[in-house]
Amino acid sequence: MLSFDLTEDQEILRKSVRDFAEKEVAPVAAKLDEEEKFDLDLVRKMGDMGFFGPFVSEEYGGTNVGYVSYIIIVEELARVDGSTAATVAAGNSLGIGPIFYFGSEDQKRRFLPALCEGKRIAGFGLTEPNAGSDAGGSQTTAAFKDGRWTINGSKIFITNASSDLTSVVTVQTVTGRKPDGRPEYSCFLLPAGTPGFTRKKMTGKLMWRSSDTAELYFEDCRIGEDAMLGSRGAGFHQMLKTLDGGRLSIAAMGLGGAQGAYEAALKYARERKQFGMPICKFQAIAFKLADMAVEIEAARNLLYKACWLKDSGKPFAMEAAMAKLYCSEVFGRVAREAVQIHGGYGLMKEYAVERFFRDQKLLEIGEGTSEVQRIVISRAIGC
């Protein structure tokens, strides 16, 4: 029988994360955004709450609660603050994911426990200044000589990679050419502090201002063979798999953000009086709110279905792309109308919808633009 019931633990989890977000995140979110401050204490608190390692088995320090629960965590954080949700979404899907899914036993034991505790975080270095949507155009190289790899190149827009908490970054490189002439990609786990590996915090962002974003530089950065993630040549496959899972958490950010912006708009519309009555009584406003409610409901069903597919071990890549695309764009429409309903106040930093409006834009760009999602979906349906 078809059931939309969440389990008891998922219901309690949602409530607990919501309480955490409202008590610990909401009071500081605007200030952290204003100051572009990545709050290490907040990360540690989220570690204590058990927000990291939701798909990692207990032996490596994870909670193994599955993707639906993971997505509930990200959704509830995003309902209050995009930057904070980004830290958890990227920390799990991009930081922990590749190590857990593709790492050797030694690598997992070395990195995962501290990452799952939230004492450290990790990044995933894929995008380069000249390789965005064209992820295959990577120019960062790794050359093998005398039992060691030497990495040269750079990465950009890498979440969770510049802070003092960052323990390791997964870096995708070109390690040669395949017999057919195409590049061979391999990933390496580069611990922070490796000589020749420089990390620089990026500032001046429109959105996610209190999330940590880094530029990475590799100048004759030498590492041993044991730093390779999985096998040589597996890098492209690893990247695709990582992004499939990552799309679910980005979608959760869209869904949660839409929910937060919608709730703020609804509350405001019920309180704000013009022409002698609450503005939610005017159809012009009421219909906007009704449309938001419909789209959010549809977005949630699409995303949870994709998570259910993943938790059930079924193919989920197309649904993940659909959910990422749809949730991001729903958030765009909801945030735009939420500001509109707030009128002039919606343009002020004092109101959360101003931040939601800015934070939303990333979701149509990061981890595969909306255009790239449409490519993925159109190929999956046989175009």
Partner: protein, 308 residues
């Protein structure tokens, strides 16, 4: 509860359907502590703490049916009464300091189970759900009787902790009535708790200032929201609480030896005659005359209304 413990406390028979709590009990032959009350001996080993909680409708959502005058509960999300979470937190802090076991009890319909799971996820050792059709429609007397019976049955306990009052009824009667039923000392409106040498020291908030009292154990306290900041359930805590089958048990009237005519609607002398939402009215009165005359008139009005 633990064999070989000659400990005072609220008395009990066996514990049907309840497994031993997970905590280890270290029970060396220590010298007896200070006798407190006839036949009661406190040993500084560990504390058996009972916490009484209630699932209530979420604060902001409560509305009153204008026809029946009763609370509309349908479609409103249930939460653990806020000050009951302070009670759970207090129990967990005492347990961390003194060792022991925290048992959470609630009387309520089947959906109250979620409230208990939440307290287990916070770290309570076990939870008991008192649910029975016979319990329905209880006023505070019948509820106190039922909870008192359960505490007796599940005990002995050294301390019973309750929230000051529930946000749906606001009576603040359950704690005091349970203490009366059990015949143990009580401290209400508590904002600080300390236990030393088997003596409970509690700071009570009064209208004007505070009062610090001491009482031997066992005792019952009702706590204020200002006592502490309740911890949130962590992901591992939630998984643990929801996956372990033996930490939450369900008991009915027969299990706790409650007499049917003293529980639920039958055991409730209280009759709700009428519930009204008070209308708030504002009246504006403009004062006239010179500033001095206006000031005098204002002072007179304030004095007349006891606002001066």
């Amino acid at each position: 509860m633990t064999s070989g413990r000659e400990k005072g406390g609220i008395h009990s028979g066996g514990q049907p359907g309840l497994s031993q709590p997970a905590h280890g009990v270290y029970n060396p032959p220590l010298p007896a502590g200070k006798p407190i009350g006839p036949g009661r001996v406190w040993r500084f080993l560990s504390m058996e703490i009972a916490v009484l909680v209630k699932q209530v409708p979420d604060t902001a959502e409560v509305k009153i049916d204008p026809k029946t005058g009763t609370l509309i509960r349908e479609g409103v999300e249930g939460v653990v009464n806020p000050e009951d979470l302070n009670a759970v937190e207090a129990a967990l802090v005492l347990k961390a300091r003194h060792g022991g076991c925290v048992t959470v009890l609630t009387m309520g319909p089947p959906q109250a189970r979620e409230a208990l799971l939440e307290t287990l996820a916070m770290g309570a050792d076990r939870a008991v759900h008192l649910t029975d059709k016979a319990f329905a429609g209880a006023d505070t007397l019948a509820t106190s009787y039922t909870l008192g019976k359960a505490v007796e049955k599940l005990g002995p306990f050294d301390l019973v902790i309750c929230g000051r009052q529930a946000i749906d009824g606001d009576t603040a009667q359950i704690g005091p009535q349970v203490a009366e039923y059990l015949g143990i000392p009580q401290a209400t409106y508590v904002q600080e708790i300390e236990i030393r040498d088997g003596v409970l020291r509690a700071v009570r908030r009064l209208d004007a200032g505070t009062e610090t009292i001491e009482t031997p154990l066992p005792a019952l306290v009702t706590v204020l929201g200002s006592l502490n900041s309740p911890r949130l359930p962590t992901v591992p805590g939630i998984i643990d609480a929801c996956s372990s089958k033996d930490r939450l048990s369900v008991m009915n009237a027969a299990d706790i030896g409650a007499r049917a005519e003293k529980t639920g609607l039958r055991g409730s002398p209280t009759v709700v005659w009428k519930t009204e939402t008070p209308k708030s009215e504002r009246r504006c009165e403009m004062l006239k005359g010179s500033p001095a005359v206006q000031a005098q008139a204002l002072a007179a009005i304030l004095k007349k209304r006891n606002l001066s």
